[in-house]
């Protein structure tokens, strides 16, 4: 009779971010023997250490600075407004500290989760090697996240650049900056630094910023950036970088008709992310590609005892999808199949923390129409509602996309607090509500959410 394998763990999670730690906690609570392996200098993953938390804290500081600059319009005397960026960073560090990631190791150990700091490399389907020690597990969860994609710009490595990981730790701001990439990360950093007086130029290779969102959103975000003094070059590719003197960098770029050069103090690359898949997956048979490790609806890879969650699998690279997927994986791997839960991505909110925020949920008009489905559209500017008057803010819109029966399939908002407002529409999509259901619902006056009601009432 063959010997049954002896495992060190029921579950090993590779990665301690939102994609890994939720499943680890669920499994540990079920009495399973669990370990987490992470090679990053800090536990907790990207979001609290280098991503969402520090950037939102910095953006909050920028918002206060801008409000103080404009306070005299409302009868508030502030005198000269200035900032100390070392203290701005200190505030950011406090926000990161308060997430508790510095104590993550103790937290995990108190929840009976073993922690190994190092690179995990699969030796076979049930074994990983970490710091020359091998650990066998019945199941694995790959939650290794992503890293910045560096586009093929000639000489960029020699000329030098930073990514979001360095950009959150400035103590002194450059005078000029190029941001390569006009997605969510690029737009947020561009606005952040521009608010603090940096002369920022944004290069986006596709014809518009936030290119996966509705064109109306992209156009408005671009127009608002230009109004703030940013130079936004869409449809423009940076081809070459050269060191200019000791501290500056010259970028060579071109669009369809023109080529040009720009010399800046700092180059921030925010041109997307690539999955961390250098784990010896070839030794397990787990399939992967340049987009990451694909899974089925239960978060299993093609090798059924190896699961994946978070940015490394997609389809969205958000903390909220990572923790959602990790919860599904943690549940599914240790329950009977008739209790397994399927991933459902059709009402995942997407937020970009520009000023004002841009948020969306569901499908865009183009995504729906490319499947041959006819649409009805509702569109409302925010400047018609009461809150726009009392806030002295007139830029923004709400777009609702429905099928011909009026069922809401997608929505986009550009407005202050759009990231909060979008959840009403996420619920509407989840429960297949019609636009008239939202239009007939009483919305409090004066709130930004009244714009959602107005947009739903305008669907035709």
């Amino acid at each position: 009779m063959p010997k049954s394998p002896v495992y060190d763990y029921d579950l090993i999670c590779i990665g301690s971010g939102a994609g890994g730690n939720v499943a680890a906690s669920i499994a540990a609570k079920k009495g399973k023997k669990v370990a987490i392996v992470d090679q990053a200098p800090k536990l907790g993953g990207e979001c609290p250490n280098w991503g969402c938390v520090p950037t939102k804290a910095l953006l909050r500081a920028a918002e206060h600075y801008e409000m103080a600059q404009n306070a005299s319009k409302y009868g508030i005397n502030t005198g000269d407004v200035s900032f100390d960026y070392k203290k701005v960073k200190a505030w950011k560090d406090l926000a990161v500290h308060r997430t508790g990631t510095e104590d993550a190791e103790e937290f995990f150990e108190s929840h009976n989760i073993d922690i190994y700091r190092g690179h995990a490399h699969f030796i076979d389907k049930h074994t990983v090697s970490v710091n020359k020690k091998r650990y066998k597990a019945r199941k694995f969860l790959i939650a290794t996240g992503t890293r910045s994609f560096i586009p093929p710009i000639e000489n960029i490595e020699k000329a030098g650049y930073i990514t979001y990981e360095e950009a959150i730790d400035f103590t002194k701001l450059p005078s000029t900056m190029a941001v390569i990439g006009g997605g969510a990360i690029g737009c947020e950093f561009a606005e952040l630094f521009a608010t603090f007086g940096v002369k920022v130029t944004v290069f986006e290779a596709t014809p518009r910023l936030l290119s996966r969102e509705e064109p109306e959103v992209s156009e408005l975000v671009k127009a608002l950036m230009i109004k703030r003094g940013l130079d936004v070059k869409t449809g423009t590719i940076v081809r070459k970088a050269e060191k200019h003197g000791k501290t500056k960098t010259t970028l060579h770029f071109n669009d369809h008709n023109h080529s040009g050069q720009l010399t800046v103090d700092s180059v921030l690359i925010a041109a997307g992310k690539i999955p961390n898949v250098d784990l010896g997956l070839e030794n397990t048979g787990v399939e992967y590609d340049r987009h990451g490790v694909p899974t089925n609806e239960y978060m299993q890879t093609n090798v059924k005892h190896i699961y994946a969650a978070g940015d490394v699998t997609g389809p969205y690279q958000f903390t909220h999808t990572a923790s959602y997927q990790s919860r599904l994986a943690g549940n599914n791997m240790f329950t009977r199949k008739d209790h397994w839960q399927e991933a459902d991505y059709h009402n995942i909110p997407r937020c970009v923390f520009t000023s004002p925020e841009a948020a969306s949920v569901g499908l865009t008009q183009a995504q729906i129409e490319e499947h041959g489905v006819k649409t009805k559209i509702g569109l409302a500017p925010v400047n018609t509602i009461g809150r726009s008057n009392t806030e002295n803010h007139s830029s923004g819109l709400v777009k609702i996309v429905c099928n011909t029966k009026g069922t809401i399939l997608g929505a986009s908002i550009v407005a202050p607090h759009a990231g909060e407002m979008i959840h009403e529409l996420a619920v509407a999509i989840k429960y297949q509500a019609h636009a008239h259901d939202i239009a007939n619902m009483v919305h409090a006056f004066p709130t930004w959410s009244e714009a959602v009601k107005v947009a739903c009432a305008s669907v035709k």
């Binding site: 090679q39 190092g118 690179h119 490399h121 030796i123 090697s129 710091n131 020359k132 070839e282 030794n283």
Partner: protein
């Protein structure tokens, strides 16, 4: 730091850059790459694999094979194919 390679039969060996260099060089010469070029390419591929190993303590011989073949492919497709599929040259 010594790097351990887990061989097909489960035992481990230390990573030997010279051995990797030799097998890459052999594959290149079989497809008639000039000796001087073959030396240069083999050196680059071996260095690439060595750099890749920096953050790792233990990998399999299959990992080395695939990593080296992928890098070799960017210089010479035929040699990479030969290196990957004909173990007698490696």
């Amino acid at each position: 730091m010594k790097k351990h390679i887990v061989k097909r039969r489960g035992h481990t060996e230390e990573f030997d850059e010279r051995k990797l260099y030799a097998s890459i060089f052999n594959a290149l010469t079989v497809v008639r790459v000039q000796t001087a070029d073959a030396e240069l390419i083999a050196e680059k591929v071996a260095k690439y694999v060595k750099d890749w190993l920096t953050s790792k303590h233990e990998v399999t011989s299959k990992d080395i094979l695939h990593k080296a073949a992928k890098e070799l492919e960017s210089f010479n497709d035929d040699a990479a194919y030969l290196y990957l599929h004909h173990r007698s040259v490696s």
